[in-house]
């Protein structure tokens, strides 16, 4: 069973986000970039499936600028077997990403696609669901537990009221949530080994799919800042102020 794991290169989650002065976007120049944390969880899950003998091969794929090769090397160091970069300088929308991934699925014929439920830059939470739709595959989103047996996956999902378990026929798309696993750190020997693992590069245009943008970004702005309030003396002062000043009790 082959597992395909799409990963995205994003602004590192520890870096302070700065909006460009001209309102054209978020400043990414000379910033630390890393693998989307949800995608790290997806890679970890795929590698564990391989370690358990359920999966035979883990293929990581990224779509983006040439530097996304670094992100793929991280995936390889965590245990993916090989990687594919679909190169594009354009900032692709989830619909375009899903269409390119559909083309990759046609080539690679994976049994499962596992990916993060959302990327922490665009926060769209869309690619997995869209890929499943385009492939006419079932989807199991926001996974907090995945069990694969035979031609079925049983997935426990994080939903608003608690946890929901569904069963999907394979092939399927699974998007992962925070509590699925704790991703490993790549060891130095594995980082060295990852340099020798195969990493193919293809141009997005070579897939011949429509990746023209549908959304035009008119502006990017900083949200209104909430101003800091006051430190109160003690619990009595707090209750008094909540009642008389804020009027919320």
């Amino acid at each position: 069973m082959k597992v395909l794991v799409p990963v995205k290169r994003v602004l590192d989650y520890n870096v302070k986000v700065r909006v460009k002065a001209d309102g054209s976007g978020v400043d990414l120049s000379n910033m630390k970039m890393s693998m989307n944390p949800f995608d790290e969880i997806a890679i970890e899950e795929a590698v564990r499936l391989k370690e358990a003998g359920t999966a035979t091969e883990v293929v990581a794929v990224s779509i983006g600028v040439p530097q996304a090769q670094d992100t793929l090397r991280t995936a390889l160091a965590m245990g993916a077997d090989r990687a594919l970069l679909i190169q594009s300088d354009q900032d692709l929308e989830p619909l375009s990403v899903a269409k390119l991934l559909k083309a990759v699925v046609a080539e690679e014929q994976p049994t499962v696609v596992i990916l993060g439920k959302q990327a922490i830059d665009g926060d769209n939470n869309a690619v997995g669901q869209m890929l499943a739709a385009l492939l006419d595959w079932p989807q199991a989103t926001f996974a907090s537990k995945v069990e694969i047996a035979g031609n079925k996956a049983t997935v426990m999902r994080e939903v608003d009221g608690g946890l929901q378990t569904i069963e999907v026929d394979l092939p399927a798309v699974i998007t992962v949530d925070l509590r699925l696993n704790e991703p490993r750190y790549a060891s130095l020997p594995n980082i060295m080994k990852a340099r020798k693992k195969p990493l193919d590069v293809k141009e997005a245009a070579s897939y011949g799919v429509d990746i023209a943008p549908r959304l035009q970004v008119l502006k990017v702005a900083e949200p209104a800042k909430r101003k800091a309030g006051i430190k109160v003396e003690d619990a009595a002062d707090l209750v008094m102020r909540l009642k008389n000043e804020a009027g919320v009790l």
Partner: protein, 314 residues
């Protein structure tokens, strides 16, 4: 132009996220229909029909729709979209699950988590955990949108739209509902609560989390929330999580106890009307957004706070 809204409901009533989505939809069009998907959801459909500004309510019922299985939802919604220019749904876990799937089938770019409707094609939405707001214009003929409910006012009630039953013939195909573990609680739901008390990693254990937060929540009639750190550590269930990747809330009063205020937590609660922080670290980032900060150990401060509340006769 007509808009279809997938309702958020519990079979008996519609949640106010639905009313808020009606307000958002009114920025696109005056012709607003609500689709209630469920099993035994007639009462919810009748409730939806009372929302002011709703033209009609469509009701589709099946066991798979009761569990909001994405493939079953798609089978009902997709054919209906021939008659609509936009599909809206509150950005709940069910809404986020189904909206992009339907968008892909319609070959349109979904627009997630909008916080402002500028015109029928232009919307503002948070990116980077709410650290930036992007305004985007869609060139798609049909729009598929999830709505962040906390920022829109709830549409009033007083309407009397007709309820029409539509076919739920399509099945979920390759996807089946197995089971659901929902937390039964007498407390209000996080998304709808007027007051939320929230705990962080400082609690140190699940027992301590309960012992500190539950009595206070019950005294205030509040819902209980948690930081991601507290959920990851197993002190609180996942559906308590407030933050960028959990629930986004905006109650009248949000009380953060032992929560440092990581960016991703702030993204989920900074629109609350009044924020109280109780934390022993005076430099914790939570104090930068709190209206009222109380510095000290929650172990002494929370009992004092409860005692003062009781004195006030709350």
């Amino acid at each position: 132009m007509a808009v279809l809204i997938i309702a958020d409901h519990d079979n008996h009533a519609v949640r106010d996220t639905t009313h808020k989505s009606v307000t958002a939809a009114a920025g696109l069009s005056g012709d607003i229909d609500i689709l209630v998907l469920g099993q035994g959801a007639r009462a919810a459909a009748d409730a939806a029909a009372k929302i002011t500004g709703v033209r009609k309510v469509l009701l589709a019922e099946s066991p798979a729709l009761g569990a909001m299985v994405a493939e079953a939802v798609e089978a009902v919604v997709l054919p209906l979209m021939a008659g609509y220019d936009a599909l809206l749904t509150p950005a709940t876990s069910a809404g986020k699950n189904v909206a992009p799937r339907i968008a892909a089938k319609l070959d349109v770019a979904p627009i997630s988590d909008i916080v402002e409707v500028i015109d029928a094609s232009t919307f503002t939405r948070p990116i980077y955990a709410g650290n930036a707001l992007e305004t985007i214009k869609s060139s798609d003929a049909k729009k598929v949108i999830t709505v962040r409910p906390t920022v829109f006012a709830a549409a009033a009630e007083g309407g009397s739209a007709a309820v029409e039953v539509v076919s739920a013939a399509g099945d979920a195909g390759k996807s089946r509902f197995v089971s659901e573990e929902t937390v039964k609680s007498a407390r209000p739901e996080l998304g709808a609560a007027r007051i939320i008390v929230s705990g962080g990693r400082a609690m140190g254990s699940a027992d301590e989390f309960k012992a500190v937060l539950e009595p206070l929540a019950d005294m205030l009639g509040a819902a209980i929330g948690a930081s991601r750190a507290a959920v990851d550590a197993g002190y609180a269930p996942n559906d308590f999580q407030v933050g960028q990747t959990g629930k986004v809330v905006a109650p009248d009063l949000y009380i953060a106890i032992g929560i440092s205020g990581a960016i991703q937590h702030l993204a989920g609660m900074k629109d609350s009307k009044v924020i109280v922080a109780i934390n022993k670290d005076p430099d914790a980032p939570i104090f930068q957004v709190a209206d009222y900060g109380l510095v000290g150990d929650y172990k002494t401060l929370v009992p004092q706070f409860s005692a003062e509340l009781q004195k006030m006769g709350n």
